[in-house]
Symmetry: C2
């Protein structure tokens, strides 16, 4: 049976409602905590039966966890591939949990608790991946939510903790706090002014790292970057968050500077560029996802610079998510070939933008 | 004093009203007859005084020529450069008569009779260039009009004729009939299906030739070709016209075939391409003339294929002519740098298309 996304408290999209600080530049903030349960092998080494016991124990504990009271439980391992892809496209589960890699199919026991504030992936690389996903730049709020979930769940399942290292994780790069905090940030100004290389080098020196829209191993397209902490060990969560907060604030300020410089020195070139992007989105009849991302990047910049008005950041976020393949297939009610998806994507983008513009 | 184009019977643009046969493919038909007057050196070798005497003799004769009764007489040599460029952009005078080439400035005595049906350039390469310019594919009508003018004017000024060769001309390639008949034709289908090379080779075998939008020496941009007779000697006007007529009919049929094949084999690619062109024209904020031509070429194809409706061929013709530099300067009432012209052009194109689409 296909997943009924309308059962999710908010359709799983509240994180892209464009609320929150700097939401024209920072799309979303995510914090996840990696946890494992004592007495079981790590997910990757566990047999099916062991993972199912992990799942049973977590489900049982979850009924007692107030932070999960409004969550929906989904057995990812029982979903068809299109639904697993759909959840991944909506940024609700990782590629690994969804089992989208042909060499790593979905594991039995893979499941997720989905909710408006926090969620838990079960039998991901670690037994538990607690996460909070928020719109805009919202590190403290996201951390508070996931920390509360961690306290409540940790009181009911025995986490694997080492007295010296901290939380034990399947991959040593997560050991310690098990925390990865990241912001999804749109930096066209820094890319266009060719300052991005410098910024990225600076991030690495600060123990931070960057990735593309879909996390580890994904390319940077459309000037969307995920910036996150690289370090998890030897520092407290607060220190790590504080550092990310300071650096991202600096990146936002640099991006704003770069946009001012662009407008001042190449205003009419930028204006032309972003309006052409808009024109192409308004009228193209076939769009690959990468093209759509790149044109949406231009239009997003235009909205940020107030060159285009009457177009909301929420609509742009929605276009980014809903123009992905599994979302288009779901809307069409059937599987789509790549070229069919390009046609359907272009139609969806055209109609959405025409509607927003009040076009006949 | 700048030229007042509103004095022209039709603003000099009736030839682009998109009437006439096959007007979605054939923009216009032009026939010109090269004539020289006995007793004077050819224009290029004549002194100023001699050219002025030629002009005086023609003006005097013209008062007796019914075909020129509704024409406006313009001393091209007394116009500022922008107006000379304007007349050239409007396809009413040649580049040579307008004196636009820095190495060949405007000649004293250069003049033109402009009218809705026929016109006469005086002191072009030949003393007289009689011409008829029509919308669409209209060889017989254009020839009839220019032939009548030729008879009436020839009865009043003594043409230089050789009993064996026919009409004498400054350049031997025009000697004989002195006639060049040409059609300005839009062939995106043949270009996109890569059949154009074959068609052009076929033209040359038939004694025909092709050029770009602005005649001799101009590049082909936007898939607009001028096809004309190469031969002027040893055959009658009727034979030459008949041959051009047959060949152009064949080219039109090939173009229509090519468009059908495109739609059948690559319909959605073409549809996307032409709509993107439209979207760019609707929203770009800076457009070079070559870009505008290329995008207009796509949109023109779309209108021909009925992929875009509610947009007239007349509007497309108008955009092609009025988005040229001198026209934009005239509309703005001041000289424009190239980058200013690009901004003004984009604005003009945007507004015209938005108006036609009934956009708010």
């Amino acid at each position: 049976m296909p997943l009924d996304l309308s059962l999710l408290p908010d359709g799983g999209v509240i994180w892209m409602d464009a609320s929150g600080e700097h939401s024209d530049i920072v799309l979303s903030t995510r914090i996840r905590l990696a946890r494992n349960i004592e007495g079981y092998a790590f997910t990757g080494r566990a047999r099916d039966g062991e993972r199912l016991r992990v799942l049973a124990q977590v489900r049982d504990a979850a009924t007692q966890v107030p932070a999960l009271a409004h969550n929906v439980f989904v057995r990812v391992d029982e979903l068809p591939a299109t639904d697993r892809l759909l959840l991944h496209e909506r940024h609700l589960v990782s590629k690994e949990l969804a089992g989208l890699d042909a060499q790593h199919p979905v594991r039995s026991g893979a499941a997720v608790f989905l909710g408006p504030d926090v969620g838990v992936m079960v039998n991901e690389e670690d037994h538990l991946r607690l996460q909070s996903l928020r719109s805009g730049f919202a590190l403290p709020a996201a951390f508070e939510a996931v920390q509360q979930l961690d306290r409540e769940l940790g009181a009911r399942v025995p986490y694997a903790v080492h007295p010296e290292f901290g939380f034990l994780t399947a991959c040593p790069t997560n050991t310690g706090t098990g925390m990865r905090a990241s912001v999804l940030i749109h930096l066209p100004g820094l890319v266009l002014t060719k300052e991005m290389g410098k910024v990225l080098a600076g991030l690495q020196q600060m123990g931070l790292t960057y990735r593309g829209l879909y996390g580890e191993g994904s390319d940077v397209v459309g000037n969307f970057f995920q910036i996150s902490n690289q370090t998890t060990l030897g520092r407290s969560e607060d220190e790590l968050l504080q550092q990310l907060l300071v650096v991202v604030r600096r990146v936002i300020a640099s991006e704003e500077d770069a946009r001012r410089i662009l407008l001042r020195d190449a205003g009419y070139i930028i204006e032309d560029k972003v309006w052409r992007a808009y024109g192409t989105l308004r009228y193209a009849h076939s769009l690959t996802f990468d093209e759509a991302m790149n044109f949406l990047s231009g239009v997003r910049l235009a909205v940020g610079l107030k060159l285009i008005s009457g177009l909301s950041v929420y609509t742009l976020n929605k276009l980014l998510i809903f123009s992905q393949s599994a979302h288009l297939s779901r809307a069409e009610g059937r599987a789509l070939t790549e070229s069919e998806a390009n046609l359907v994507r272009a139609r969806y983008v055209r109609h959405t933008l025409a509607q927003e513009a009040g076009a006949p």
